[in-house]
Amino acid sequence: ELAHAPIEKQLLPNGPWKVIPNAGVTAPEGFQVSAYKAGLRKSGTRADCALIVADESCSCAGVFTLNAVCAAPVQFCKKQLEVKSTSRAILINAGQANAATGVLGDEDAMTCAKAVSDVTGLDSSDVLLMSTGVIGRRIKMDKFVPAIQALGEHLERSDAASMAAATSICTTDVVRKTLAIEVDINGTKVKFGGMSKGSGMIHPNMG
Protein backbone atom coordinates (compact mmCIF):
# COMPACT_ATOMS: atom_id res chain seq x y z
CA GLU A 1 0.00 0.00 0.00
CA LEU A 2 1.15 3.53 -0.71
CA ALA A 3 0.79 6.57 1.53
CA HIS A 4 -1.75 9.18 0.51
CA ALA A 5 -0.66 12.42 -1.18
CA PRO A 6 -1.36 15.53 0.94
CA ILE A 7 -3.90 16.86 -1.53
CA GLU A 8 -6.57 17.89 0.94
CA LYS A 9 -4.15 19.57 3.34
CA GLN A 10 -1.70 21.20 0.96
CA LEU A 11 -2.60 21.02 -2.71
CA LEU A 12 -6.33 21.55 -3.23
CA PRO A 13 -7.18 25.21 -3.92
CA ASN A 14 -9.62 26.93 -1.58
CA GLY A 15 -13.19 27.27 -2.80
CA PRO A 16 -16.82 26.56 -2.05
CA TRP A 17 -16.29 22.79 -2.11
CA LYS A 18 -16.10 20.32 0.72
CA VAL A 19 -13.63 17.45 0.78
CA ILE A 20 -15.22 14.00 1.07
CA PRO A 21 -12.73 12.20 3.33
CA ASN A 22 -11.02 9.01 2.15
CA ALA A 23 -13.03 8.93 -1.07
CA GLY A 24 -12.16 8.72 -4.75
CA VAL A 25 -13.66 7.91 -8.11
CA THR A 26 -16.77 6.23 -6.72
CA ALA A 27 -17.78 9.18 -4.55
CA PRO A 28 -20.02 10.58 -7.32
CA GLU A 29 -23.23 8.68 -8.00
CA GLY A 30 -23.15 6.12 -10.77
CA PHE A 31 -19.66 4.62 -10.76
CA GLN A 32 -18.09 1.32 -9.74
CA VAL A 33 -14.43 0.37 -9.66
CA SER A 34 -12.15 -2.60 -9.13
CA ALA A 35 -8.42 -3.24 -8.89
CA TYR A 36 -6.52 -6.47 -9.44
CA LYS A 37 -3.02 -7.91 -9.46
CA ALA A 38 -2.47 -9.39 -12.91
CA GLY A 39 1.28 -9.76 -12.50
CA LEU A 40 2.27 -7.17 -15.07
CA ARG A 41 4.91 -5.43 -12.98
CA LYS A 42 8.55 -6.34 -12.94
CA SER A 43 8.26 -6.68 -9.17
CA GLY A 44 4.87 -8.25 -8.71
CA THR A 45 4.00 -7.15 -5.22
CA ARG A 46 1.12 -4.80 -5.96
CA ALA A 47 -2.10 -4.68 -7.93
CA ASP A 48 -1.42 -3.36 -11.41
CA CYS A 49 -4.74 -2.75 -13.15
CA ALA A 50 -8.06 -1.08 -12.54
CA LEU A 51 -11.45 -0.81 -14.19
CA ILE A 52 -14.01 1.97 -13.73
CA VAL A 53 -17.51 1.36 -15.06
CA ALA A 54 -20.43 3.79 -15.07
CA ASP A 55 -23.97 2.56 -14.47
CA GLU A 56 -25.23 4.58 -17.43
CA SER A 57 -23.82 6.43 -20.42
CA CYS A 58 -21.77 9.48 -19.35
CA SER A 59 -20.72 12.68 -21.01
CA CYS A 60 -17.05 11.94 -21.55
CA ALA A 61 -14.11 13.99 -22.73
CA GLY A 62 -10.37 13.63 -22.70
CA VAL A 63 -7.15 15.35 -23.58
CA PHE A 64 -4.16 13.32 -24.67
CA THR A 65 -0.46 13.70 -25.24
CA LEU A 66 0.58 15.57 -28.37
CA ASN A 67 3.74 13.48 -28.56
CA ALA A 68 3.76 12.17 -32.16
CA VAL A 69 4.94 8.82 -30.81
CA CYS A 70 1.82 8.14 -28.78
CA ALA A 71 0.73 4.89 -27.21
CA ALA A 72 -1.85 2.52 -28.66
CA PRO A 73 -4.37 3.27 -25.86
CA VAL A 74 -4.02 7.00 -26.58
CA GLN A 75 -4.79 6.44 -30.26
CA PHE A 76 -7.64 4.13 -29.28
CA CYS A 77 -9.23 6.73 -26.95
CA LYS A 78 -8.84 9.56 -29.45
CA LYS A 79 -10.66 7.52 -32.10
CA GLN A 80 -13.43 6.55 -29.68
CA LEU A 81 -14.03 10.11 -28.50
CA GLU A 82 -13.90 11.53 -32.01
CA VAL A 83 -16.91 9.38 -32.88
CA LYS A 84 -18.96 10.17 -29.77
CA SER A 85 -18.58 12.25 -26.61
CA THR A 86 -20.03 9.61 -24.32
CA SER A 87 -18.55 6.54 -22.68
CA ARG A 88 -19.15 4.00 -19.92
CA ALA A 89 -15.83 2.46 -18.87
CA ILE A 90 -12.09 2.88 -18.65
CA LEU A 91 -9.49 0.15 -18.19
CA ILE A 92 -6.04 1.08 -16.86
CA ASN A 93 -2.87 -0.96 -16.50
CA ALA A 94 0.58 -0.33 -15.09
CA GLY A 95 3.71 -2.27 -16.00
CA GLN A 96 3.83 -1.88 -19.76
CA ALA A 97 2.96 1.35 -21.57
CA ASN A 98 1.93 -0.29 -24.86
CA ALA A 99 3.75 2.58 -26.61
CA ALA A 100 6.09 2.16 -29.57
CA THR A 101 4.65 -1.32 -29.97
CA GLY A 102 3.42 -0.99 -33.56
CA VAL A 103 0.48 -2.84 -35.07
CA LEU A 104 0.62 -5.57 -32.44
CA GLY A 105 0.15 -2.92 -29.75
CA ASP A 106 -2.96 -1.65 -31.53
CA GLU A 107 -4.29 -5.20 -31.67
CA ASP A 108 -3.60 -5.65 -27.96
CA ALA A 109 -5.56 -2.47 -27.21
CA MET A 110 -8.55 -3.74 -29.17
CA THR A 111 -8.32 -7.11 -27.44
CA CYS A 112 -8.39 -5.35 -24.06
CA ALA A 113 -11.48 -3.34 -25.01
CA LYS A 114 -13.22 -6.50 -26.24
CA ALA A 115 -12.36 -8.30 -23.00
CA VAL A 116 -13.99 -5.45 -21.04
CA SER A 117 -16.99 -5.64 -23.35
CA ASP A 118 -17.26 -9.40 -22.83
CA VAL A 119 -17.24 -9.24 -19.04
CA THR A 120 -19.41 -6.14 -18.59
CA GLY A 121 -21.79 -6.52 -21.48
CA LEU A 122 -20.95 -3.03 -22.69
CA ASP A 123 -20.45 -2.19 -26.33
CA SER A 124 -16.69 -1.92 -26.95
CA SER A 125 -17.31 1.56 -28.37
CA ASP A 126 -18.13 2.56 -24.77
CA VAL A 127 -14.75 1.44 -23.45
CA LEU A 128 -11.62 3.59 -23.07
CA LEU A 129 -8.06 2.53 -22.21
CA MET A 130 -4.99 3.86 -20.42
CA SER A 131 -1.58 2.26 -19.96
CA THR A 132 1.58 3.25 -18.12
CA GLY A 133 4.91 1.61 -17.53
CA VAL A 134 7.84 0.63 -19.66
CA ILE A 135 7.77 2.11 -23.18
CA GLY A 136 8.45 -0.26 -26.07
CA ARG A 137 7.02 -3.30 -24.33
CA ARG A 138 3.75 -5.00 -25.22
CA ILE A 139 1.31 -5.68 -22.41
CA LYS A 140 1.61 -9.19 -21.01
CA MET A 141 -1.71 -10.19 -22.56
CA ASP A 142 -1.59 -13.76 -21.29
CA LYS A 143 -1.83 -12.32 -17.77
CA PHE A 144 -3.92 -9.26 -18.50
CA VAL A 145 -6.90 -10.76 -20.33
CA PRO A 146 -7.81 -13.13 -17.44
CA ALA A 147 -7.29 -10.19 -15.07
CA ILE A 148 -9.83 -8.12 -17.02
CA GLN A 149 -12.34 -10.88 -16.41
CA ALA A 150 -11.60 -10.64 -12.67
CA LEU A 151 -11.83 -6.86 -12.73
CA GLY A 152 -15.26 -7.04 -14.31
CA GLU A 153 -16.47 -9.56 -11.75
CA HIS A 154 -15.31 -7.54 -8.73
CA LEU A 155 -16.68 -4.09 -9.48
CA GLU A 156 -18.02 -2.26 -6.45
CA ARG A 157 -18.91 1.21 -5.25
CA SER A 158 -16.71 1.69 -2.21
CA ASP A 159 -13.99 3.98 -0.92
CA ALA A 160 -11.74 0.98 -0.37
CA ALA A 161 -12.02 -0.04 -4.01
CA SER A 162 -11.34 3.56 -5.08
CA MET A 163 -8.18 3.64 -2.99
CA ALA A 164 -7.06 0.27 -4.32
CA ALA A 165 -7.56 1.47 -7.89
CA ALA A 166 -5.58 4.67 -7.26
CA THR A 167 -2.73 2.59 -5.86
CA SER A 168 -2.82 0.00 -8.64
CA ILE A 169 -2.10 2.48 -11.43
CA CYS A 170 1.04 3.91 -9.76
CA THR A 171 4.52 3.14 -11.09
CA THR A 172 7.45 4.96 -9.44
CA ASP A 173 5.01 7.10 -7.42
CA VAL A 174 5.81 7.33 -3.72
CA VAL A 175 2.23 8.29 -2.87
CA ARG A 176 -1.19 7.50 -4.31
CA LYS A 177 -3.16 10.44 -5.62
CA THR A 178 -6.89 10.44 -5.16
CA LEU A 179 -9.48 12.93 -4.00
CA ALA A 180 -13.21 13.60 -3.86
CA ILE A 181 -15.08 16.86 -3.33
CA GLU A 182 -18.68 17.98 -3.11
CA VAL A 183 -20.14 21.32 -4.13
CA ASP A 184 -23.63 22.75 -3.70
CA ILE A 185 -25.15 23.95 -6.96
CA ASN A 186 -28.60 25.49 -6.54
CA GLY A 187 -29.33 23.18 -3.63
CA THR A 188 -28.09 20.02 -5.35
CA LYS A 189 -25.02 18.25 -4.00
CA VAL A 190 -22.72 17.57 -6.94
CA LYS A 191 -19.73 15.31 -6.38
CA PHE A 192 -16.39 14.97 -8.14
CA GLY A 193 -13.90 12.16 -7.64
CA GLY A 194 -10.53 11.59 -9.20
CA MET A 195 -7.30 9.68 -9.25
CA SER A 196 -4.02 10.38 -10.98
CA LYS A 197 -0.58 8.86 -11.20
CA GLY A 198 2.79 10.20 -12.23
CA SER A 199 6.22 10.92 -10.84
CA GLY A 200 8.74 10.89 -13.69
CA MET A 201 8.59 11.58 -17.44
CA ILE A 202 6.28 14.43 -16.52
CA HIS A 203 5.93 17.36 -18.87
CA PRO A 204 2.39 17.05 -20.15
CA ASN A 205 1.43 18.73 -23.39
CA MET A 206 -2.07 17.47 -23.99
CA GLY A 207 -4.69 18.60 -26.43
Binding site: P16, V175, K197
Partner: protein, 222 residues
Protein backbone atom coordinates in the same frame (compact mmCIF):
# COMPACT_ATOMS: atom_id res chain seq x y z
CA UNK B 1 3.77 9.28 -17.60
CA UNK B 2 0.78 10.99 -16.05
CA UNK B 3 -2.67 9.45 -16.12
CA UNK B 4 -5.78 10.95 -14.58
CA UNK B 5 -9.42 9.94 -14.42
CA UNK B 6 -12.09 12.22 -13.00
CA UNK B 7 -15.67 11.17 -12.33
CA UNK B 8 -18.60 13.41 -11.53
CA UNK B 9 -22.34 13.15 -11.13
CA UNK B 10 -22.80 16.61 -12.63
CA UNK B 11 -25.30 16.74 -15.46
CA UNK B 12 -23.54 18.44 -18.35
CA UNK B 13 -24.19 18.01 -22.07
CA UNK B 14 -21.36 16.24 -23.91
CA UNK B 15 -20.34 19.30 -25.95
CA UNK B 16 -20.17 21.63 -22.92
CA UNK B 17 -18.35 18.96 -20.90
CA UNK B 18 -15.77 18.60 -23.69
CA UNK B 19 -15.08 22.34 -23.68
CA UNK B 20 -14.75 22.36 -19.88
CA UNK B 21 -12.31 19.45 -19.87
CA UNK B 22 -10.10 21.09 -22.51
CA UNK B 23 -9.91 24.37 -20.57
CA UNK B 24 -9.29 22.64 -17.26
CA UNK B 25 -6.60 20.39 -18.73
CA UNK B 26 -4.77 23.44 -20.03
CA UNK B 27 -4.74 25.14 -16.62
CA UNK B 28 -3.88 22.08 -14.54
CA UNK B 29 -1.99 19.09 -15.96
CA UNK B 30 -0.49 21.10 -18.83
CA UNK B 31 1.01 23.44 -16.22
CA UNK B 32 3.06 20.86 -14.36
CA UNK B 33 6.52 19.54 -15.13
CA UNK B 34 8.95 17.30 -13.31
CA UNK B 35 11.71 16.64 -15.81
CA UNK B 36 10.77 18.13 -19.19
CA UNK B 37 10.02 14.77 -20.83
CA UNK B 38 6.62 14.53 -22.51
CA UNK B 39 5.32 10.98 -22.29
CA UNK B 40 3.81 8.82 -25.00
CA UNK B 41 0.85 8.01 -22.75
CA UNK B 42 -0.27 11.19 -20.94
CA UNK B 43 -4.05 11.15 -20.69
CA UNK B 44 -6.82 12.90 -18.80
CA UNK B 45 -10.33 11.48 -19.13
CA UNK B 46 -13.37 12.92 -17.35
CA UNK B 47 -16.81 11.35 -16.98
CA UNK B 48 -20.05 13.08 -15.99
CA UNK B 49 -22.86 10.67 -15.11
CA UNK B 50 -25.61 13.23 -14.60
CA UNK B 51 -26.85 11.28 -11.56
CA UNK B 52 -26.75 14.18 -9.09
CA UNK B 53 -30.26 15.20 -10.03
CA UNK B 54 -29.34 18.65 -11.25
CA UNK B 55 -30.86 20.06 -14.44
CA UNK B 56 -28.64 19.42 -17.46
CA UNK B 57 -26.21 22.22 -18.27
CA UNK B 58 -26.30 23.08 -21.96
CA UNK B 59 -25.04 26.69 -21.78
CA UNK B 60 -21.35 26.93 -20.95
CA UNK B 61 -21.82 30.54 -19.82
CA UNK B 62 -24.54 29.81 -17.28
CA UNK B 63 -23.76 30.33 -13.56
CA UNK B 64 -24.20 26.58 -12.99
CA UNK B 65 -21.68 25.79 -15.71
CA UNK B 66 -19.19 28.17 -14.10
CA UNK B 67 -19.64 26.43 -10.74
CA UNK B 68 -19.17 22.98 -12.23
CA UNK B 69 -16.09 24.08 -14.16
CA UNK B 70 -14.62 25.71 -11.07
CA UNK B 71 -15.00 22.47 -9.10
CA UNK B 72 -13.71 20.39 -12.01
CA UNK B 73 -10.70 22.70 -12.20
CA UNK B 74 -10.09 22.37 -8.46
CA UNK B 75 -10.03 18.58 -8.45
CA UNK B 76 -7.78 18.51 -11.50
CA UNK B 77 -5.44 21.04 -9.91
CA UNK B 78 -5.24 18.95 -6.75
CA UNK B 79 -4.44 15.81 -8.74
CA UNK B 80 -1.96 17.61 -11.01
CA UNK B 81 -0.11 19.32 -8.17
CA UNK B 82 0.13 15.97 -6.38
CA UNK B 83 2.13 14.64 -9.35
CA UNK B 84 4.59 17.54 -9.20
CA UNK B 85 4.79 17.20 -5.40
CA UNK B 86 5.64 13.51 -5.90
CA UNK B 87 8.17 14.19 -8.67
CA UNK B 88 10.93 11.59 -8.67
CA UNK B 89 13.43 12.48 -5.97
CA UNK B 90 11.62 15.72 -5.08
CA UNK B 91 11.83 17.31 -1.66
CA UNK B 92 9.29 20.04 -2.36
CA UNK B 93 6.55 21.29 -4.67
CA UNK B 94 7.68 24.38 -6.57
CA UNK B 95 4.88 26.84 -7.43
CA UNK B 96 5.33 29.88 -9.64
CA UNK B 97 2.65 32.56 -9.92
CA UNK B 98 2.92 35.12 -12.71
CA UNK B 99 0.82 38.26 -13.01
CA UNK B 100 0.90 41.39 -15.13
CA UNK B 101 1.38 39.57 -18.43
CA UNK B 102 -0.52 40.61 -21.53
CA UNK B 103 -2.86 37.62 -21.24
CA UNK B 104 -3.28 34.40 -19.30
CA UNK B 105 -1.54 32.32 -21.96
CA UNK B 106 1.62 34.43 -21.75
CA UNK B 107 1.50 34.29 -17.95
CA UNK B 108 1.20 30.50 -18.01
CA UNK B 109 4.08 30.27 -20.50
CA UNK B 110 6.37 32.31 -18.23
CA UNK B 111 5.34 30.36 -15.13
CA UNK B 112 6.02 27.05 -16.85
CA UNK B 113 9.37 28.25 -18.16
CA UNK B 114 10.46 29.09 -14.61
CA UNK B 115 9.39 25.81 -13.02
CA UNK B 116 11.12 23.89 -15.84
CA UNK B 117 14.58 25.41 -15.34
CA UNK B 118 16.96 22.62 -14.31
CA UNK B 119 19.40 25.16 -12.91
CA UNK B 120 16.72 26.76 -10.75
CA UNK B 121 15.39 23.38 -9.63
CA UNK B 122 18.89 22.37 -8.57
CA UNK B 123 19.34 25.69 -6.76
CA UNK B 124 16.15 25.07 -4.77
CA UNK B 125 17.43 21.63 -3.79
CA UNK B 126 20.64 23.36 -2.64
CA UNK B 127 18.67 26.04 -0.71
CA UNK B 128 20.10 28.78 -2.92
CA UNK B 129 17.63 31.67 -3.51
CA UNK B 130 19.09 32.26 -6.94
CA UNK B 131 16.92 35.06 -8.34
CA UNK B 132 19.18 35.36 -11.38
CA UNK B 133 18.13 31.90 -12.55
CA UNK B 134 14.46 32.87 -12.04
CA UNK B 135 14.89 36.03 -14.13
CA UNK B 136 16.75 34.09 -16.81
CA UNK B 137 14.06 31.42 -17.11
CA UNK B 138 11.33 34.08 -17.29
CA UNK B 139 13.28 35.87 -19.98
CA UNK B 140 13.58 32.96 -22.38
CA UNK B 141 9.91 31.99 -22.13
CA UNK B 142 8.37 31.79 -25.59
CA UNK B 143 5.65 34.39 -25.03
CA UNK B 144 3.68 36.20 -27.71
CA UNK B 145 4.50 39.59 -26.18
CA UNK B 146 8.05 40.63 -25.35
CA UNK B 147 9.01 40.69 -21.69
CA UNK B 148 10.34 44.03 -20.44
CA UNK B 149 13.08 43.22 -17.94
CA UNK B 150 12.80 46.69 -16.40
CA UNK B 151 9.35 45.79 -15.13
CA UNK B 152 10.36 42.46 -13.64
CA UNK B 153 9.55 41.89 -9.96
CA UNK B 154 10.52 38.62 -8.27
CA UNK B 155 9.77 37.34 -4.77
CA UNK B 156 10.40 33.97 -3.15
CA UNK B 157 8.41 32.98 -0.08
CA UNK B 158 7.28 36.59 0.21
CA UNK B 159 10.86 37.89 0.23
CA UNK B 160 11.46 40.43 -2.54
CA UNK B 161 14.52 39.51 -4.59
CA UNK B 162 14.15 41.84 -7.58
CA UNK B 163 12.16 45.05 -8.07
CA UNK B 164 11.58 46.82 -11.40
CA UNK B 165 14.39 44.84 -12.95
CA UNK B 166 16.87 45.80 -10.25
CA UNK B 167 18.34 43.36 -7.72
CA UNK B 168 17.27 44.08 -4.15
CA UNK B 169 19.57 43.93 -1.14
CA UNK B 170 17.69 41.09 0.54
CA UNK B 171 18.49 38.89 3.52
CA UNK B 172 20.08 35.95 1.71
CA UNK B 173 20.30 33.83 4.86
CA UNK B 174 16.58 34.29 5.55
CA UNK B 175 15.70 33.30 1.98
CA UNK B 176 17.95 30.25 2.17
CA UNK B 177 16.36 29.27 5.48
CA UNK B 178 12.94 29.53 3.82
CA UNK B 179 14.06 26.99 1.22
CA UNK B 180 15.69 24.75 3.80
CA UNK B 181 12.63 24.68 6.05
CA UNK B 182 10.22 24.18 3.15
CA UNK B 183 12.15 21.32 1.60
CA UNK B 184 12.73 19.67 5.00
CA UNK B 185 8.97 19.17 5.38
CA UNK B 186 8.22 18.55 1.67
CA UNK B 187 6.25 21.79 1.54
CA UNK B 188 5.63 24.27 -1.26
CA UNK B 189 8.28 26.76 -2.40
CA UNK B 190 6.43 29.77 -3.83
CA UNK B 191 7.88 32.19 -6.37
CA UNK B 192 5.83 35.27 -7.34
CA UNK B 193 6.69 37.14 -10.51
CA UNK B 194 5.28 40.37 -11.93
CA UNK B 195 6.08 41.23 -15.51
CA UNK B 196 4.03 44.40 -16.04
CA UNK B 197 0.52 45.66 -15.52
CA UNK B 198 -1.39 43.44 -17.94
CA UNK B 199 -4.34 41.35 -16.83
CA UNK B 200 -2.69 38.01 -17.58
CA UNK B 201 -2.32 35.59 -14.69
CA UNK B 202 -0.93 32.07 -14.70
CA UNK B 203 0.47 29.39 -12.45
CA UNK B 204 2.72 26.38 -12.91
CA UNK B 205 4.01 23.66 -10.62
CA UNK B 206 7.20 21.64 -10.60
CA UNK B 207 9.63 20.32 -8.05
CA UNK B 208 13.28 20.57 -7.13
CA UNK B 209 15.96 18.44 -8.80
CA UNK B 210 17.82 16.12 -6.46
CA UNK B 211 20.48 13.43 -6.72
CA UNK B 212 17.73 10.84 -6.34
CA UNK B 213 16.18 11.77 -9.69
CA UNK B 214 19.25 10.46 -11.49
CA UNK B 215 19.42 7.39 -9.27
CA UNK B 216 15.77 6.44 -9.88
CA UNK B 217 15.99 6.87 -13.64
CA UNK B 218 19.36 5.24 -14.04
CA UNK B 219 17.83 2.14 -12.52
CA UNK B 220 14.47 2.19 -14.35
CA UNK B 221 14.38 0.11 -17.53
CA UNK B 222 13.41 2.23 -20.50
Amino acid sequence: TMLAVVTSDANVSPDVWTKMVKRVGTKSFNQISVDGDTSTNDSLVCFASGRSGMKQITDENSPEAKQVEEALNAINLGLAKAIAWDGEGATCLFETNVKGAKDDEDARTIARSVICSSLLKAAIFGHDPNWGRIACAAGYAKTKSALDQNRLNIAMGGITLMKDGQPVDFDEKKASTYLKETTSKHGTVVVDIEVGNGSGYGQAWGCDLSYDYVKINAEYTT
